[in-house]
């Protein structure tokens, strides 16, 4: 059989408990690895800190979405009621702003929520039909009861054998290479 040498995406190790995963992440960062990712079936407390993840952009995007919804919503109602389609109802002011509050409020929430969800998906680059980590058969446990770390070949410190050994030293099981195709 001819060995088809495909491009290597990285090296993956499997961990049994959240504690081992977080410990391994800390050790990897101490060793100078930067281009790696941890995978867990539920959000782990302390993993973000261990990964060195700082604040993300989702709250800012949500704020912008909310402001757009609110200001746009009020502005639109003002434009409709006072400029383009004015209706004189008993001589009351055309810019009857208290009556515009409910719709302004709802559109603020709508804008912020849409921004939060679609902003989160866009920053996560989802939907993404395929990713190299799915090439590892055991990775299907990442959505059930196992925890994984994948160190990317792009990492300057990456060396197939050394990195794999390092992962094993951190109590990783089933350390395997991840192909890119």
């Amino acid at each position: 059989m001819i060995q088809h040498r495909s491009h290597i995406y990285g090296v993956m190790g499997e961990f049994e408990t959240p504690e081992k995963l977080i410990h391994a992440v800390q050790k990897l960062r101490e060793a100078g690895y930067r281009r790696f990712d941890a995978y867990s079936p539920f959000p782990l407390e302390g993993l973000s800190q261990a990964m060195g993840l700082k604040r993300n952009l989702v709250p800012l995007i949500t704020l912008i979405g909310g402001l757009t919804g609110g200001i746009g919503g009020f502005g639109f109602q003002y434009w409709v009621a006072a400029i383009t389609y004015p209706m004189n109802i008993g001589g009351r002011p055309l810019n009857s702003w208290p009556a515009f509050i409910p719709v302004t409020f709802e559109l603020t929430i709508l804008g912020a929520s849409l921004a939060a969800v679609f902003g989160m998906l866009a920053l996560n680059r989802l939907p993404q039909p395929h990713h190299p980590v799915f090439n590892v058969p055991r990775f299907s446990h990442a959505s059930a009861d196992r925890f994984f770390i994948c160190i990317e070949a792009r990492d300057p410190k990456f060396h197939l054998l050394d990195t794999a050994r390092f992962l094993q030293g951190l109590q990783a099981h089933h350390v395997s290479e991840v192909n890119d195709d």
Binding site: Y39, Q77, V80, Y85, V117, S143
Partner: protein
Amino acid sequence: MSVGQPPSDSPEIRQLTPVLGPGHTFRSVTDKISAIVLTRPTSLGWFIGFAISFSLTGLLTVAIGWLFTKGVGIWGINIPIGWGFAIVNFVWWIGIGHAGTLISAILFLLNQKWRTSINRFAEAMTLFAVACAGIFPLIHTGRPWMAYYMFPYPSTMGIWPQFRSPLIWDVFAVSTYGTVSLMFWFVGLLPDLATLRDRAIQKPAKIIYGMLAMGWRGSARHWHRYQSAYLLLAGLATPLVLSVHSVISLDFSVSIVPGWHTTIFPPYFVAGAIYSGFAMVISIAIPLRKAYGLEDYITMRHLDNMAKVMLATGLIVAYGYFFEFFLSIYSGNKFDVFLVQQRLHGPYAPFYYSLIICNILTPQLLWSYKMRHNVVVLFIMSIIVNTGMWLERFVIVVISLTRDFDPSAWGRYQPTFWDWATFIGTIGMFVMLIFLFVRVLPAISIAEMRELVAETSEEKE
């Protein structure tokens, strides 16, 4: 990790009653919940339940088809009672939806662990209730094919909606509520869809769940943003849910009709909404945990807590009833006083008394620990409360409209067969959607249950 189950439930050990049965691991919760969808054979009971609710949905289709053919004259509405069953049912269904958002958003912000196993199907219930609710104002417009007039779109006629009208506020409140609830539900489902994708055996299931999961792989970077987004959504859904029924109550209270024109309506409607919603969650939770053996996940602690929320909101509603009365009499306004007399002695008085029995008197049984821990009593009670809440909306809509200012404008309202067919049809549609939901999606959030397993195992160490 496994600790012996306390021999029996009693108030003393209530604090110890866990939100999760003992001995569960990441694997066991994943296996058990995903098995309901993926591997367990569909039971005969499911098919029977689905068939019945599907037939009722058929009845709904017929009722709406006939309505489109003949017009709203097939209903019991008339002048002056232009708002009949359609509005009663609309308000009732929207109210039911509120508990789902309350459980998923407000209890999440308050860090209440017991929400975990009930939030998923409570959110689904919200969506389905909003879907049922949305039908009514639409078909009540008389010319539903022109319902899009209510949305602001650049028409060639150059007309725009009247943004000063509570009915337009309604359109925005309900459509925002539906959209945000759907997104909240879907974001919560995302990790579970990935689990189903990875565990599905049949190819079509793999493909469908795979597409829905959008390539979720549980990356730490993804979780990091996911948690921000989920928390923000919860924070946004909280004021939203309080606003929706407030806006709906403004449909009534902005008018000058006696019995409607009152400032207590927004908070009183919201409390009533949560009340009926929790009743509906109990009505669904009890058969669900029994049918799928989920007693370890939906424990007596959950039912007990939900019963307590029901009792508390029921008391707020009772306070609302009392103040409605008091303010009418205290105001000295003769039309308001007359409306109170009509509620007590008018032609619809039996509805009013039934509503008091259902909503205020019966739920007082929930003060008793024994009653809260009797599953059968709770189930019956939840049905009674929902009946009571439906009667409340009937009383508000019908009595005020049949007895306003001028005796020459008084009238009577009698629902017809088609009114009932539409109402029962939406109940059928709601139940059918619930049946489909528990069959194809995890009724309990698997990812959050794993978190709960992690947290409870930490506590025991």
